[in-house]
């Protein structure tokens, strides 16, 4: 039967080449658009080096306070200060390691002696940053607590930054001095180029947060850092949230004298919530984002499906007598529907594979356009799309599932109608 389905499909395509071509191209474009949406959506949550542990990293990102005075609607919001980050997220039960790092975009001039300065994406971090995120060192080492405590002016560069600023190999870069925002710093490590899609870990220049940092204001509650935490095996998101909520209650108590109270906003965020965080004074609405994506995908499937349904209907009209013969020889209506869906699925799958390949090639070649603004709003840095963003089982699964749904949508009704034609009527055709 399987071979008959293939034979029938090929025969149909040969007999009606224009219809077949339109169906194939329509399917390919529908799957291309859908897979592009899926990929863009997927890179927000899939493991991407150096955020390889996205499934167990949690983020404390914002501080938001509101006035408790009657009639006073004032509120303040920003990133965390080191103090509030430590008070709210430090040493939680179920967290193996946590890191404080600057999460804001920070382009900075970096210059080697006698060379042209380059504007690079910098990030200040603590020493634990290298444990939460798995940057690959190609030369040198990360800075540790002792280095930070000693106040050493050190810097870790990406391979691309080394090429651009020092014009040498990573090994040759170690020990050299570069001016970072006019401050001389010694290069102690070089990491592989990383993608801006890993927006919390991405950077070209990494420096320690100074011990005497003055990156806080407003009673030391607000600042410019975030917290990334790595959950232990067996720990649950709810368990962590519960602890943070309790700390927020404690903070609220401590802030009473200031006539303000902190707003919890369901922190810490998991990867999905963090990727949907729109501002420091709102709670990420992941459900609404999921619904929007689902709606978009449905529209992308439904529109071509309606058009292709008409084509399938006209194709099946030529086969009414054949369906009558099959019914006469014992095929049930359900069997007829299954056969017709299977035949159509072959075409949809062929178009779907073409669409999937198109979306993969497109994502690879045009990644800077496809993922524009994600992680690097300036669009200056190459996306460096990791291969697992394109080649992963989830993408293949969704492509096949989409073909299946598209097949049902485009051929379901025509197949059902064809199976309902009375055998006697069908045999008269």
């Amino acid at each position: 039967m399987k071979s008959n389905i293939l034979k029938q499909t090929l025969y149909d395509m040969k007999r009606q080449p224009v219809t077949a071509a339109v169906t194939l191209i329509g399917t390919a474009l529908a799957i291309f658009l859908m897979m592009t949406v899926m990929m863009i959506n997927d890179v927000k949550t899939m493991p991407l080096t150096p955020e390889s542990n996205r499934d167990r990293i949690l983020y404390g990102m914002n501080m938001h306070t509101v006035s408790t005075e009657d009639g006073n609607n004032s509120n303040s919001s920003s990133r965390l200060s080191v103090k509030s980050a430590t008070e709210l997220y430090g040493d939680l039960e179920g967290i193996s390691v946590w890191s404080i790092y600057c999460d804001d975009n920070n382009n900075i001039d970096v210059q080697a002696t006698g060379k042209t300065p380059a504007v690079l994406f910098s990030r200040m971090t603590d020493d634990k940053f290298w444990q939460v995120f798995d940057h690959k060192f190609v030369a040198g080492r990360p800075y540790d607590k002792a280095t930070i405590d000693a106040g050493d002016n050190v810097v870790v560069l990406s391979e691309g930054a080394v090429r651009e600023v020092l014009e040498c190999t990573p090994e040759e870069a170690i020990g050299q001095t570069v001016k970072v925002g006019q401050k001389p710093k010694t290069v102690i490590g070089v990491v592989k180029d990383n993608t801006p899609l890993a927006s919390h870990a991405f950077g070209e220049v990494f420096m320690p947060i100074p011990k005497d940092n003055n990156m806080s204001w407003d009673d030391d509650y607000f600042g410019s850092v975030s917290v990334a935490m790595l959950m232990e095996d067996g720990a649950t998101y709810d368990q962590i949230k519960k602890q943070v909520k309790a700390r927020y209650a404690e903070l609220e108590n401590n802030m009473k004298a200031t006539n303000r109270k902190p707003v919890y906003h369901e922190q810490p965020y998991d990867q999905l919530a963090a990727s949907n965080a729109m501002g420091s004074n709102t709670t990420p609405d992941t459900e609404s984002e999921k619904k929007k994506t689902l709606m978009l995908i449905l529209i992308l499937l439904l529109v071509p499906a309606i058009n292709m349904s008409a084509l399938t209907q006209s194709r099946l009209k030529h086969r009414t007598a054949e369906i009558g013969v099959k019914r006469a020889y014992g095929a049930t209506k359900g069997r007829i529907v299954l056969e017709l869906l299977a035949e159509n699925f072959v075409v949809t799958l062929a178009g779907g594979i073409a669409g999937l390949l198109l979306s993969m090639i497109g994502a690879w070649l045009l990644s800077d356009t496809f993922f524009a603004g994600m992680g690097d709003p300036s669009n200056r840095v190459d996306i460096n799309l990791p291969i697992n963003a394109i080649l992963n089982w989830k993408i293949f699964f969704w492509a096949v599932a989409s073909c299946f749904v598209l097949n049902l949508l485009s051929a379901g009704i025509p197949a059902w109608r064809a199976s309902r034609v009375h055998p006697v009527e069908a045999l008269r055709k």
């Binding site: 054949e322 049930t332 006697v424």
Partner: protein, 224 residues
Amino acid sequence: MNIIELNSVGKVYRTNTVETLALENVNIQIAKGEFVSIMGPSGCGKSTLLNVMGLLDRPSSGTVEIDGKPTANLSDKALSALRNAKLGFVFQSFHLIPSLSVTDNVELPLMYRQGTSDKERKARVREVIERVGLSHRMGHMPTQLSGGQCQRVAIARAIVGNPEIIFADEPTGNLDSHMSAEIMDLLKKLNKEDGRTIVMVTHNELQGKETDRIIRMFDGHCLS
């Protein structure tokens, strides 16, 4: 023993404005192994009668029994299974599936039958194609065959499932006299050698006379 029995069968086709009486009070008994032809002028209800007997259409009134089994209350699924097990069909315009080869066309009824292995199917298909004298055309497509050969393929398809009854609706209607004679010989052979019951609609008086009995129809009534 009667393998087909129609009692007081009526068939009315209704549209919004018109009601057409295709069969009225038809009573027919056909014995096992009989070769019966149905004759009558165009529009007298021959094909309708064949469709009702072949369980392709339900009567508006009366009962149809196949091999002693009443069919009135059978579901569509049960009717499909009964057609597959006991009935074979040969059509005037052959109705071969153009995308499939001779072998695949003949195999079709077995595809809708449970419990037949691939090996058994292939062997059975080969056997019946040889029987109708087309073993040299097994891989051919219907467009590569003559009308007579197409009808032989259709007959092979009708007998591949080893049905007890074959319904043939003007099987020689699209063939020249030479090919018609060949097809008639083949049907007679299936009747005599295998003991299959054959019910054939024909306009050809000579062919009718070659069968065991002629049922004559006129205006939806059975005359003999």
